[in-house]
Assembly symmetry: C2
Homo-oligomer: 206 residues x 2
């Protein structure tokens, strides 16, 4: 019984070039299908088909269908988390207004780019909601955002900052997701970011 193995661990680690290509093809195919047709359409046979490999190969590297999806989610959470982290650290010293606007702008980009994971998958497969939820709420990000707000504490009139952070996080993400879901009439990226920033800044400082 090997350690560090769970029900999502790969069965076999690819060692040759062509095996790596196979694994990549499978992940790409799964991503594409889920993106375009949704989770239900992503049957293992269909994924193998689109990837151009046999169903047997698929099951050599992934123990189950869920393992494929888990791999997609993990990848997205890692990448998006890393980018957001860097972004936040670079913005540590800007003004409250600028910081808020740029963070919202950044969140819009992230949630558009990883729409598959953070919106489609997280909604259709409740199992994965927590995993993808990690991104916005994980401790490191939380602390970084918290630090940013603290640097502008005197401008902020809200008493309970932690509570305000929770409210803001979900106000913002809620509006962004709705904007991306519906194709909002009379509203473009710039305008959305402007309006939501306004709301957040006014909520905090007026």
């Amino acid at each position: 019984m090997k350690a560090n193995q769970n029900q999502f661990s790969p069965r076999k680690v690819p060692q040759q070039e062509r095996a790596l290509f196979t694994v990549e093809s499978i992940l790409t195919a799964a991503r594409t299908i889920i993106q375009q047709k949704g989770y239900e359409a992503a049957t293992t046979n269909h994924i193998a088909d689109v990837a151009g490999v046999s169903i047997g190969s698929l099951y050599q590297y992934f123990p189950s269908k869920e393992a494929i999806v888990a791999a997609l989610v993990e990848d997205a959470v890692l990448r998006a988390g890393e980018r957001t982290r860097k972004f936040l650290i670079e913005r540590m010293n800007v003004s409250l207004e600028t910081g808020v606007r740029e963070i919202i702008q950044h969140l819009l980009e992230i949630r558009r780019e990883y729409g598959l994971i953070f919106r489609r998958l997280a909604r259709e497969v409740p199992r994965f909601r927590n995993i993808s939820g990690q991104l916005t709420t994980e401790k490191y990000l939380y602390n970084t955002v918290h630090t940013f707000y603290l640097q502008h504490r005197e401008e902020i009139l809200v008493e309970d900052l932690e509570m305000a952070m929770f409210v803001i996080e979900h106000l913002v993400v809620g509006a962004i997701d709705a904007y991306l879901d519906n194709d909002a009439p009379r509203l473009d990226d710039e305008e959305l970011v402007q309006q939501v920033s306004n709301a957040v800044i006014k909520y905090l400082t007026k």
Copy 2:
């Protein structure tokens, strides 16, 4: 070929007391299962099991699994829509601040009560998103809300009111759903309503 029949129409209208009880049992079972375990867990056999009726009886009254879900959705949209309509009309003449707060309070109640439909189902089954989306965006409600805002137009500094309505709708619903999904720490109903109202009012008037 009968008119007024579609793929969701019941096959048979219950005529005796016990048949009505059967239908109710099926709907209740479906609601419970979806609420607690999600849409995927709601197989027809499982629904019949929980309802305490045979799978045959289920298919006597519902032509398909989707018809059961459609019945749940329709019921919720009708009830919630009607209640919201009445609520809005009663609040036509209150102040901007009071109106906004009470509407948010009302939305919180509605989305908690009909959480099954407006949150779980709408997310897991893309097919039903539009139907449940009707509730908040349907024309009548839209016009009613619009009228309310217009009565306080001089207090409102935002130029493009229609755009602001879109932003506000999704800010509010986003925050409410997040609050209901996560069991938000250090935040109760009253506090949430207060904070979100604050944000909306300040966004509109400052």
